[in-house]
């Protein structure tokens, strides 16, 4: 096997890992993802990261610290923009620097910039640059990128149908339930699919007989359309997904309640949740709850709030 490339399991891992894995494997590298978040990784993260960063950034630091001795390279891409005329969040753009200056003795970083703000074609250059660290042959990089893109499309389609990323990435599925009420969960992928940070939310819901609906199950075109209610264009892709899917959940009659997960100190969410709440309150009348997570979140109070929310849905349905 060739070089070992570490991929920290944080930020947009659950969004783009299939692409990354396929691309790097095709180029002859061994891809080493860090294990799912656990107490040790979270503690490492809060120790090394500056204290007022948001939870996902801290978790990311933990994963990077955990991986650093186990690999030859580490992939920390700079995701400035993943779709034209949109950014994600400044922290995504500064992530390589944040990690680099907070953690000592890192292996060599692959920190290519992915910036599709002007055009999607910039991705080609970024991939060429990343690939050239492993092979000199540009055609091989192109073939790898094509295969990776196909894989990513298949992955996205599976998610659209309702599969969860863990099934695809770790071969472990959450037992799903088909009977109870349907709860929409609007949250960023790094909170929604990280079972340690969100206190096993998905399993908890399933074990209580609740079905859930996640933003990845909403079509891109629907999200675009829902975001047109703003006079000003939405220039964050992360927030767009959140607002678009939350508004879709509000409108969809099959969904009985909406729950939002956010991390303490998330800049984008502080705006988008307020927008959703204020717009939602004007038109719709659905149970809605926001759960704020950080490294001090306790299981007990999380459960209490969750139960209260589910009781509310039950009572609404009984009436």
């Amino acid at each position: 096997m060739g070089v070992r490339i570490g991929v920290p399991r944080g930020m947009y891992f659950y969004k783009f890992y299939p692409f990354t894995r396929r691309f790097l494997t095709e180029l002859g590298a061994e891809v080493v993802p860090s294990p799912p978040t656990n107490k040790e990784i979270l503690d490492l993260g809060s120790r090394y990261c500056i204290d007022d960063a948001c939870l996902p950034v801290k978790v990311y630091h933990g994963h990077a610290e955990y991986l650093k001795d186990k690999v030859d390279y580490m992939l920390i891409p700079r995701l400035t923009s993943i779709s034209p005329r949109e950014y994600i969040c400044p922290k995504f753009g500064g992530l390589p620097e944040m990690v680099k200056y907070s953690i000592d003795k890192l292996p060599k970083l692959i920190d290519v910039e992915i910036n599709m703000y002007k055009t999607r074609r910039n991705l080609i250059n970024s991939l060429l640059k990343a690939g050239s660290m492993l092979t000199k042959n540009p055609y091989r990089i192109k073939r790898a990128a094509d295969k990776a893109a196909k894989e990513q499309i298949m992955y996205n389609n599976d998610l659209l149908k309702g599969d969860l990323p863990c099934k695809y990435i770790d071969n472990a599925d959450v037992q799903r339930c088909n009977t109870g009420p349907l709860v929409g969960i609007a949250a960023h992928p790094y909170l929604l699919y990280d079972n340690f940070i969100n206190m096993n939310l998905l399993e908890k819901l399933s074990s209580r007989g609740i079905k859930f609906f996640v933003p990845e199950m909403v079509e891109k075109s629907v999200i675009e359309e829902k975001c047109k209610i703003f006079e000003k264009r939405m220039f964050w892709s992360s927030s767009k997904e959140l607002i678009g899917s939350a508004l879709y959940m509000m409108e969809n009659d099959k969904i009985d309640g909406i729950m939002m997960l956010t991390s303490f100190g998330c800049g984008i969410d502080s705006l988008s949740i307020e927008l959703i709440q204020r717009l939602g309150r004007r038109k719709y009348n659905k149970p809605f709850m926001v759960m704020t997570l950080d490294e001090h979140t306790g299981d007990a109070n999380f459960n209490t709030r969750l139960e209260a929310f589910l009781d509310l849905i039950d009572r609404r349905q009984a009436n």
Partner: protein, 360 residues
């Protein structure tokens, strides 16, 4: 149309000059106080940054004074400031205030909309508007000069109370001055008053540079008068960003087809090679610039949860090491207590001064 605009430090002076010259009636919101902030905090989402809360308080106060149109600048960068306008409008509507909001987005977001907004604001002035704008810009330059004088005089004079009273007098008189001409004259008079004080020219105070998020370093209310406090202790401060800098780089330089923020971008390149939004590059660039020009310490101020500044905050320790310059990090929000803040500034001042003495 009775216009109003939020406070940002001394920006109101230039904006007032601009609207006065255009012949538009504008209402300056009362100076920000605890009460302003309280109004904002009550209605705002808790996680939003401090400037949002203060600005909302400003609007409410102005509306109570009879304003019906709010002007703010916009942006479409990754910083949250870009969506301030739409959300603030939504909140004001929910509070029962029906006001018009003019958001001046940058040119590249649509020329038609921009020209339309300018036409609404320029009161049919046509090309005269350009001249009026440049006059207002000159007022910004004058304010900068006044601030420079103040930074120089404050640590060097014994009569610090007199400096305060001169500045207070200026603040109250400027509200009744009309147009850029009168305001410029007033600034000149104030400057001369400051220079006429008893100044100890041989004194060699420590020099502290203030870097960080643009609103919180420009607006003295939001940073609890950090400049004044440091100056009173005996440090000569310099603030990295001013209203004039902002206007120069965002309005004047694009008009003249020059590149904005060239120096800052060049100096910050080794630490952060690309633009990630907000003023991260500027903050880092200024830090390096201050270190190279022989400053003794830096203070970074930013609102709690500011996304771009958190990135600079995690890079700054490296600059601290590389250039051997101490940095104090201050995070402000509505919970910031005055006593703790003062203690930290004092401790930092003592530390920097002792350090300087030991080295000389």
């Amino acid at each position: 149309m009775r216009l109003t605009y939020p406070h940002m430090g001394e920006a109101y002076i230039a904006v007032k000059a601009l609207f006065d010259d255009l012949g538009i009636e504008s209402i300056i919101p009362p100076y920000s106080t605890e009460n302003t902030l309280r109004i904002g905090v009550k209605e705002c989402p808790e996680g939003i940054c401090l400037p949002f809360k203060i600005m909302l308080g400003n609007y409410v106060k102005s509306i109570e004074d009879g304003a019906d149109t709010i002007v703010i600048t916009g942006s479409c960068g990754p910083c949250r400031f870009g969506y301030y306008g739409p959300l603030q409008k939504l909140i004001l509507e929910d509070m029962g205030y029906n006001v018009d909001m003019i958001i001046l987005d940058p040119l590249k977001e649509g020329i038609g909309k921009f020209i339309n907004n300018i036409r609404r604001l320029s009161n049919g002035a046509g090309f005269k508007a350009y001249k009026v704008f440049m006059d207002a810009y000159r007022v910004c330059e004058k304010i900068d000069e006044l601030n420079q004088v103040q930074y120089f005089v404050r640590p060097r004079t014994k009569d610090k109370a007199r400096v305060n009273s001169i500045m207070h007098e200026f603040k109250s008189k400027v509200l009744s001055a009309k147009g850029s001409k009168e305001i410029s004259d007033l600034i000149d008079t104030t400057k001369n008053q400051l220079l006429a004080l008893d100044i100890d020219m041989d004194m060699n105070p420590i020099k502290i540079g203030i870097i960080g998020e643009i609103y919180t370093i420009i607006d003295p209310f939001s940073n609890l008068n950090a400049e004044e406090r440091l100056g009173d202790m005996g440090a000569e401060v310099h603030r990295s960003m001013t209203v004039k800098d902002w206007a120069e780089n965002n309005l004047v330089k694009p008009l003249r087809r020059q590149k904005p923020y060239e120096l800052e971008i060049k100096l910050s390149k080794p630490y952060l090679p690309v633009l990630i939004g907000g003023h991260t590059q500027q903050c880092l660039g200024h830090a390096v610039n201050y270190a190279l020009s022989g400053y003794d310490g830096l203070v970074q101020i930013y609102p709690m949860g500011c996304m771009p500044e958190i990135v600079s905050r995690s890079i700054l320790p490296q600059i601290e090491k590389d250039y051997d310059i101490p940095i104090l990090y201050l995070i402000v929000d509505e919970q910031t207590g005055e006593a703790g803040y003062q203690t930290r500034l004092e401790a930092f001042y003592d530390y920097v001064q002792t350090r300087k003495k030991k080295r000389s």
